[in-house]
């Protein structure tokens, strides 16, 4: 596992610290999915502060990972996108879509908690399946 994934109670935290090749990126995606389902995490923060290049492929991987994780009932926040990276993705037309983002880890954790609370209350209201 090139990118370590930490567990803090029911939240997962992962920070991409190195340049990932295409294969590494897919491995990362798989690892995240595995961990989310194994730990039944309610939320995951993916920190990309160290990524100084996010090309169309990596952007797709991040987007897909976020969507896949949400399908497992886990909230996700991507934190720390560098301004140059945000700019470049916009110029290329490859920006992240429908993914919650935050400036840094602090704000990311806060946002994640908000998302989890919001979805918790929806579940309660809907009276649907609630995994203890």
């Amino acid at each position: 596992m090139k990118v370590p994934i930490l567990k803090l109670k029911d939240i997962l935290l992962t920070s991409i610290q190195i340049d990932l090749t295409d294969e590494d990126a897919i491995e990362f995606q798989n690892d995240v999915m595995q961990q989310v389902s194994r730990t039944e995490a309610k939320g995951i923060v993916i920190d990309i502060t160290a990524l100084d290049v996010v090309d169309s492929y990596m952007s797709r991987v991040l987007n897909d990972t976020a969507n896949m994780v949400r399908l497992l009932g886990c909230e996700v926040v991507i934190t720390g996108m560098q301004p140059s990276v945000a700019l470049t993705l916009i110029e290329m037309g490859r920006e992240l879509i429908n993914v919650e983002t935050s400036l840094n880890l602090d704000q990311g954790m806060e946002k994640l908690q908000q998302l989890i609370s919001a979805s918790d209350s929806t579940r309660a209201v809907k009276g649907g399946e609630y995994n203890e």
């Binding site: 301004p83 945000a86 700019l87 993705l89 916009i90 983002t101 704000q107 990311g108």
Partner: protein
């Protein structure tokens, strides 16, 4: 000898007497010279006006006794006119050569008529040709210098405008910044704005950015696109963007142009926008 001399014209007289022909030849030389875009950048009429003007001032110039330098009163008019012509061409985007061609091609035109008029005395012809060459060379150099100076000023002015354009970002509150956007937005500036905004969001760790567009005169499709992109970029950094200050005229225009900014939060006034921003970061303003 005296009789013969009095029959010979001076350059000044030639210019006056044969003006129309000289002008015609000169115009032909300028426009036919390959690689110049003179007639693309100015109309023929304008060109003729400039040419006539120069010829008139040259009448005085060519009457000068000394002609080694052109900073004597005899040349004042020519110098002033050429400086004007040079400067305006520099601003219009002519190259240095295109501007100089204007002056130097006059030589050939004059030469022809001088040879016709002063043919009888080769010694005097030669002297007059020397004089003509010297004067026009000096004037030609002047046009180069003026051109260069003007171009430098144009570039300096552009850099200054660019620097003035670097937008001030205002820290309204913890985690709230505001960017007042003033003036015309082109692609270069839009990119610059985006960069400034994003850097500011990161350095102040802001969660809300207010873009006030009261100062943008026209919001057309292109500008709206720039704004939408800016909002998208800020969102990827996790910040919310509120756009304030869209005038009712701009709102009407945008609706007519079918510009869709429904994903973008907009508020009519800065006050309301600020209120919203405070709400977002969980701040309540209490009046004492």
């Amino acid at each position: 000898m005296a009789k013969k001399e009095s029959k010979l014209k001076t350059i000044a007289e030639i210019i006056v007497d044969r003006q129309e022909e000289i002008l015609t030849d000169w115009m032909q030389l300028i426009t036919k010279l390959g690689g110049t875009r003179t007639l693309e950048l100015m109309s023929e009429d304008q060109l003729v006006v400039q040419a006539k003007g120069l010829l008139t001032t040259l009448t005085t110039a060519f009457n000068a006794e000394q002609y080694v330098t052109i900073d004597t009163p005899d040349f004042a008019d020519s110098v002033a006119l050429l400086q004007d012509i040079s400067a305006s061409r520099a601003e219009q985007g002519f190259t240095a050569s295109e501007t100089a061609v204007f002056v130097f091609s006059l030589k050939d035109a004059l030469l022809k008529y001088m040879q016709e008029e002063i043919s009888e005395d080769p010694v005097i012809l030669n002297a007059e040709i020397q004089k003509m060459n010297k004067i026009i060379d000096n004037l030609g150099l002047l046009t180069f210098e003026t051109y260069a100076k003007t171009r430098e000023e144009v570039i300096l002015q552009q850099s200054r405008s660019l620097m003035e354009l670097s937008t001030p970002v205002i820290r309204v509150w913890d985690q709230i910044i505001m960017l007042p956007i003033v003036g015309v937005i082109d692609t270069v500036r839009a990119t610059q704005l985006m960069e400034s905004l994003l850097e500011a969001i990161v350095s102040t760790e802001s969660r809300v950015a207010i873009l006030d567009v009261t100062g943008i005169p026209i919001i057309d499709t292109k500008v709206a696109q720039h704004l939408i992109k800016t909002v998208a970029a800020a969102k990827m950094l996790g910040a919310e963007v509120i756009i304030t200050g869209i005038s009712s005229d701009a709102a009407q225009t945008m609706t007519k142009l079918e510009i869709d900014i429904s994903n973008v939060k907009t508020r009519g006034s800065l006050r309301i926008g600020l209120n919203e921003a405070f709400n977002m970061v969980g701040v309540t303003v209490i009046k004492k």
